[in-house]
Symmetry: C2
Subunit: 240 residues, 2 copies
DNA sequence: CGAGCCATTGAATGCCATCAATTTTAGTGG
DNA sequence: CCACTAAAATTGATGGCATTCAATGGCTCG
């Protein structure tokens, strides 16, 4: 069903790779200064994952952590009877792979051609001892992930199909602004099936609801994956 | 709607309060040995919250962290239009109050008379510098909370009403076993309304589904809050 | 340019929500 | 201990939103 994992390593010897990294300010490496980040660079590897490839699988032993440099990723859980629930989409600057268990509790797959910065788990954990600030920063990132997951719980527990889609668009918009890109229009790097499996809906409901929003001039679509929010500020937000 | 917060402080001078604590082995304090835990004891306070009282409110400044010693707690989010979603139930050994933001993103309320161990946020964070092991342990606990939240996302996105209730009972059962209590029967310390607001259902659906499970001899009830799982091992589990 | 996948639209079904009424439980005071 | 009351839980009838089943349309990539 899913493509087999594959990737290419490009550990180039260009100096100061990390120092000039585009996501340095939002990823955990941001708390290290120029002199210290050289040491982090020494234990990291660049990895490239083409669209559709798996980064790791639910059930695999946890041996590596990742920072996302470029692209986007979906993480999803599969049940024994084949149901699939996407539990999150990850973007540049996000930290990937940490778990409280020995094995990954979800599968990670690239939604587009994606660049990752890879760390060996043991090596990075030893690095924490030298730079406790990093562990503190990662604790902060995980707490943020938890808050995002709780918002998603609210969405799935209480929102209608229309509310789920609009909230989803607002989340992507805010994510883009955080990265310094424009918050409108937005680009959906995932399929309708992925959106449905993330929002607890079916593809038909997603499609139908999108058509409604188009008819009511709340959104405008360019192709099937680019959306302009006609009046972003008027879209109701129920949390925060 | 909700009762006003109230609590009583009992910072007794009995020595080695922490050393003998019933949840020491599962809470974050478990990683400190007897000699170090005395220092942790010096910065902690015992607090008691009667049933129905609030521990803190969504929007309050984060100034304190808590360990749960005894009792149980619900944490919930309210939307502007009054919808309420319970995002978690917490039990002895759980860590409460950490946030990636300046303010709490949810309200915490005692489901029964509850004993907490309270820490000033700044003081405990300074304590981390002296004992980095604690921060590491808390990172582990937060990662676990995240994994639990992702399971809940799966439940809300993909499970039927019946599956949600059965999974809920299994979770409580496993939680009880983790605490060394019996895993069967289980005790529901929350109301039907709370269960509904946690599982993304209405009280009527919860009640009706419970009646079905009773009729089919899958569960047996003693009163309205004690449940015996007639054949726990035959209840299907779709994850893990 | 055709094949296959993805997305859209339509019609019918079903699960859970809503509205409404009754029963049971829990808490209080006599 | 029992009567009384309010809240909580259960049960019934009906309705609606999202799903399911089915068919068409449109994009993308050899």
């Amino acid at each position: 069903m899913e493509p087999v994992a594959s990737c290419t390593t490009r550990n180039k010897n260009n100096n100061h790779r990390c120092a000039q990294c585009s996501v340095r300010l939002i990823a955990f490496c941001g708390i290290l200064d120029d002199s210290d980040i050289i040491q982090l660079e020494a234990i990291s590897k660049n990895k490239s994952f083409p669209k559709g490839t798996n980064i790791f699988f639910q059930g695999d032993q946890v041996k590596t952590f990742f920072n996302i440099k470029q692209g986007s990723i979906k993480i999803y859980k599969l049940s024994h009877d084949g149901r699939k629930q996407i539990v999150g989409f990850l973007y540049p600057g996000d930290f990937l792979g940490m778990s409280d268990q020995e094995v990954y509790t979800y599968t990670a797959e690239a939604l587009e051609d994606t660049q990752l910065c890879q760390f060996n788990k043991i090596v990075l954990e030893n690095f924490f001892l030298k730079f406790p600030k990093i562990e503190n920063k990662i604790l902060n990132l995980v707490n943020h992930e938890l808050a995002v997951a709780q918002d998603q719980i609210f969405l799935l527990g209480k929102y209608s199909a229309r509310e789920r889609l609009l909230q989803f668009f607002l989340n992507i918009s805010n994510q883009r602004e955080k990265l310094g890109w424009g918050g409108n229009p937005i680009r959906l790097s995932m399929s309708r099936t992925d959106i449905a499996n993330y929002l607890g809906l079916t593809i038909e409901t997603v499609s139908r609801t999108l058509s409604e929003l188009k008819n009511e001039q709340i959104i405008r679509m360019i192709g099937t994956h680019d959306i302009f929010l006609n009046n972003k500020k008027q879209i109701p937000q129920y949390l925060n």
